[in-house]
């Protein structure tokens, strides 16, 4: 529920406010647009605050934009570890610059009486949010390392799912709280942006690059043009109507043309019979999968124990995937004595599924290269913080009696069941 509100509703509210309020202010409230510089009132501390802050946040922002717009390129780049280290290093240094500058700016705003005369509540809110966001960003970068490697396949698809109006939180839903908080505060900052001094970002005067040095404005020439238009309108109303008709027709045709391109972009292309058939099949399969899923869920709700496999079918070098009581993937192996060995297959790091092939007695999580001991489930190396939890099971013989002391000669007849938490 909170995921839905914070990761789907909030982004749309934030983007709506950003676009509409920014346009409104640039169209109708032009006087309110300003960098609101306070250099005039205090300049020394401003230098040590403003310059590192803008430099640092500029680099950080650029990094986030690259991860968002060119995830494939970034992933290709950071597959080489030294490039990964360099990029992450630059990011961390830039973040430190930004944080340092921000702290100077914050203290200056709180302590200088002249600056307080031009400080609004919104300034304090924005400064607090930015400080929190930078701190969270640094925490994410240090605790959950190599964000440049994992973000393009998790956060980027989430952002695109929001932008393409097919919101899907599953990419980030199971992420640690700190990463989620970083994402949520980013949306809050975007929400506040058009109501605060942050709007000056959109006033960046890029037109200055190409502008000629001098600007001359003629009131009379502007006036004359208006007079000519007015006279034309009065002289020939028919001509005006004609041109209006022409323009309207043109606009309609143009909008049809645009709509023709835009609507399929959102609705997808129209389909041939074969494609329709394929799509229906896909849908059917998805529904079947859902039914299966629901059946499994129901089974786990009703039954105290669930059949997994015959003991003789389990192998020592290749695990059998099954679904445990919490509807998460799990793996079943046989140990050297011929008894079952059941683990949760959900990696304790960021929740990827562990592979079922055993190599040199090790299980691999492919997402961040964590290795687990197949005998105990313990972490051998990699970022995973904890061992894979074991899954509780029982053995039953052919007459559906629970086996307390397994008979070595009858192992092949036994069946493996998993049992509900709490049962013994």
């Amino acid at each position: 529920m909170s995921d839905f509100f914070l990761l789907i509703s909030l982004p749309y509210v934030a983007m709506f406010s950003l676009i509409t309020v920014t346009i409104y202010r640039f169209k109708s409230k032009k006087f309110s647009l300003s960098s609101l510089s306070s250099q005039f009132l205090e300049k020394d501390k401003l230098f040590w605050g403003s310059v590192p802050w803008h430099m640092g946040i500029g680099i950080i922002f650029l990094g986030h934009v690259v991860a968002f717009t060119m995830p494939k390129l970034l992933q290709a780049l950071v597959s080489k570890t030294n490039i990964l280290y360099i990029l992450e290093g630059i990011g961390l240094i830039a973040a430190m610059f930004a944080l340092g500058g921000l702290v100077v700016l914050f203290l200056r705003r709180l302590r200088n009486a002249r600056i307080q005369a031009v400080t609004s509540n919104m300034d304090l809110i924005i400064l607090s949010l930015l400080t929190l966001q930078i701190l969270l960003g640094i925490l994410v970068a240090t605790l959950y390392r190599w964000g440049a490697a994992w973000a393009p396949s998790t956060v980027t698809p989430y952002l695109w799912s929001i932008l393409s109006f097919r919101p899907d939180v599953s990419y980030v839903a199971s992420m640690p709280l700190i990463i989620k908080a970083h994402i949520v505060i980013a949306w809050v900052i975007i929400l506040f942006m058009p109501f605060s001094r942050l709007i000056h970002i959109f006033a960046l005067p890029l037109e200055y690059i190409t502008r000629l040095p001098q600007i001359v404005v003629w009131n009379s020439r502007r006036l004359k043009e208006e007079v000519i238009i007015a006279q034309l309108e009065a002289q020939s109303r028919r001509h005006f109507l004609k041109s209006a008709f022409g323009i309207t027709t043109g606009l309609i045709l143009l909008s049809i043309g645009i709509a023709d391109k835009v609507i399929p972009f959102f609705r997808g292309p129209s389909l041939s019979a074969k494609e329709k058939e394929e799509m229906l099949k896909n849908k059917l399969e998805k529904m079947k999968a859902t039914i299966k899923q629901k059946e499994l869920e129901n089974e786990r709700l009703v039954n105290e124990y669930i059949y997994i496999a015959d003991l003789k079918d389990l192998k020592t070098d290749e695990g059998l995937y099954f679904t445990d009581y919490s509807m998460k993937p799990a793996l079943a192996f046989k140990d050297e004595r011929g008894l079952p060995l059941l683990y949760s297959a959900k990696c304790t790091h960021l929740g990827c599924t562990v592979t079922n092939k055993v190599k040199n007695g090790k299980l691999l999580c492919p997402c961040h290269i964590s290795h687990f001991d197949v005998k105990t489930g313990d972490v051998l190396d990699g970022p995973a913080p904890k061992a894979l939890p074991t899954v509780k099971f029982i053995l039953m013989d052919q007459s559906q009696q629970i086996v307390i002391n397994p008979d070595k000669s009858k192992l092949n007849e036994y069946k493996v069941y998993i049992i509900k938490e709490g049962n013994t």
């Binding site: 032009k30 005039f40 001098q214 001359v216």
Partner: protein, 497 residues
């Protein structure tokens, strides 16, 4: 030839009494709002002195104006546009509040609310920015009339032009000399503030040359404050926008002279139209320093020349404007008589406000308790003037002393010419010799005298009609032009969040 008209100005410094009436008139109309308390769009400085803001003429510090490098003019404050962008985050050349002064008022209520006691209650000064008690350390005219001249006058950047001997003479008590320098925005023809503005908010009006800031476009990037060498653009700390002298254009458009002109007690201010050749800007400013004054004069066109009139009409300049240009007192002072000179033309912004330099009291010295000077050498002793010619040349002719000397000689010749008419105590032949040396005819001397000493308000302000709203109304619906007359703001100007 691209003929344009410019409403330009002459200040006759010989008549300025330093009363600050102009400053007060301006303050009352335009800068009484919060955020503008410290601004003086019009101020009067005592020279020698450090001025307002302190040492504004020190361009090594403030980097105002243009620099002539190779074949191009470059802004001193930003060598290239990249530097312009870097300066958005912190402008290293911009003066801060302490370079002006912290505006203050007094706690007057303390005078009425103080409890009964043995002492008289006092009203302590409080800052108009923070509201806290402050000790006043400077003000808008802190060095008025050479007050604190050891601190202020001696730090005047223009003294560099003088020899040590000249400086010592100037600051000797019995020799001490000063002049007043009223300053408003020069409405330059080659403005560096306009060129520096990243947002393109600053512009020059085509019809009359007034330089304005579009408050809706200004984003408070502050580049103009550093780029203006005269420091006549001020940052409004409340609204986060820059403001400057608007030459009272709402008054001009209703046929009135600007408030500072109209209120001038000494009647030192003249206003009129100049026609100039816009095609030759900024090339006219790409000449060596000593010929800058001549170069600027050369782009001002003769309004009586039929070719110029024809070209002006082709450019859409109205007959009224051409009439005003032909009767312009400014044209007479600047081009015909060559008496009025631009302030600090070496900044190469081509200021369109001209100053008639003050006539100098000559040096004398006290001997045997008598102040002695030689009245016979009154005219030939310009080199002994108390405010040295080198100092005036530094202010008004980019160190070209011959321009100052010829202007001062002409003014002196007019005095002799009138004196011999009224009090015939000087030899007429001698006066004629003086007139020849100063290169001034009887008619010209009479005209200069009349314009200097006896002008009516209509002689001083020859204003063409710029009534914008009257031009608009007969032609089209007034509904359509709502808000486009006057200052143009139709919303309450409020600081953004």
């Amino acid at each position: 030839m691209d003929v344009r008209a410019h409403v330009s100005m002459v200040f006759h410094l010989d008549k300025c009494i330093g009363c600050h009436t102009c400053s007060v008139a301006c303050k009352n109309i335009w800068t009484g709002r919060e955020g503008t308390e410290y601004m003086w769009w019009n101020n009067v400085e005592t020279k020698p002195g450090t001025g307002f803001p302190t040492q504004w003429e020190d361009q090594d510090k403030y980097k105002g104006g243009w620099e002539f490098e190779g074949e191009v003019l470059k802004l001193k404050s930003q060598k290239n546009k990249l530097q312009g962008f870097v300066n958005l985050f912190y402008n290293p050349n911009m003066p801060g509040l302490d370079d002006y002064y912290e505006p203050w008022t007094y706690k007057y209520e303390d005078l009425f609310n103080a409890p009964l006691g043995d002492d008289q209650p006092t009203a302590v000064p409080i800052s108009k920015i923070t509201g806290e008690e402050i000790s006043i350390e400077s003000g808008p005219n802190w060095d008025d009339d050479l007050g604190g001249s050891n601190l202020y006058a001696k730090n005047d950047p223009n003294l560099e032009a003088m020899t040590q001997e000249e400086r010592d003479l100037m600051f000797e008590v019995e020799n001490i000399a000063m002049m007043y320098l009223p300053r408003i925005c020069n409405h330059c023809a080659n403005p560096s503030c306009v060129a520096s503005c990243p947002s393109g908010a600053l512009y020059k009006r085509g019809e009359d040359g007034i330089v304005l800031i579009n408050q809706d476009k200004c984003r408070g990037w502050r580049a103009c404050i550093a780029a203006c060498p005269y420091k006549k653009i001020y940052y409004n700390w409340k609204t986060g926008k820059s403001e400057k002298c608007i030459l009272c254009y709402p008054r001009l458009e209703t046929g009135q002279a600007p408030a500072c002109f109209h209120s001038c007690v000494g009647r030192i201010r003249y206003m009129g139209v100049l026609l100039y050749d816009a095609d030759r800007i900024p090339d006219a400013m790409k000449v060596p320093e000593h010929s800058l004054v001549e170069s600027q004069r050369s782009i001002i066109l003769n309004p009586h020349d039929p070719k110029v009139v024809e070209a002006a009409k082709r450019n859409g300049i109205s007959d009224e404007f051409i009439d005003a240009a032909q009767n312009s007192p400014v044209y007479k002072y600047v081009v015909e008589w060559k008496l009025a000179l631009p302030l600090h033309i070496e900044y190469r912004t081509m200021p369109m406000l001209f100053y008639v330099p003050p006539l100098l009291p000559i040096q004398g010295k006290v001997e045997n308790g008598m102040y002695e000077h030689d009245p016979e050498k009154f005219f030939t002793s310009l080199d002994k003037a108390r405010l040295s010619v080198s100092y005036l040349a530094r202010l008004f002719s980019a160190n070209n002393e011959s321009i100052i000397i010829s202007a001062l000689k002409k003014m002196m010749a007019v005095r002799y010419f009138k004196r011999v008419q009224q009090v015939p105590d000087i030899d007429k032949d001698k006066v004629e010799a003086i007139m020849r040396e100063a290169n001034v005819s009887d008619e010209e001397a009479e005209a200069i005298f009349a314009m200097t000493s006896l002008p009516t308000v209509y002689d001083r302000f020859v204003l063409p009609p710029i009534q914008r709203e009257e031009a608009i109304e007969p032609k089209m619906s007034t509904e359509k032009c709502k808000g486009c007359t006057g200052c143009g703001e139709v919303q309450t100007p409020e600081r953004g969040l």
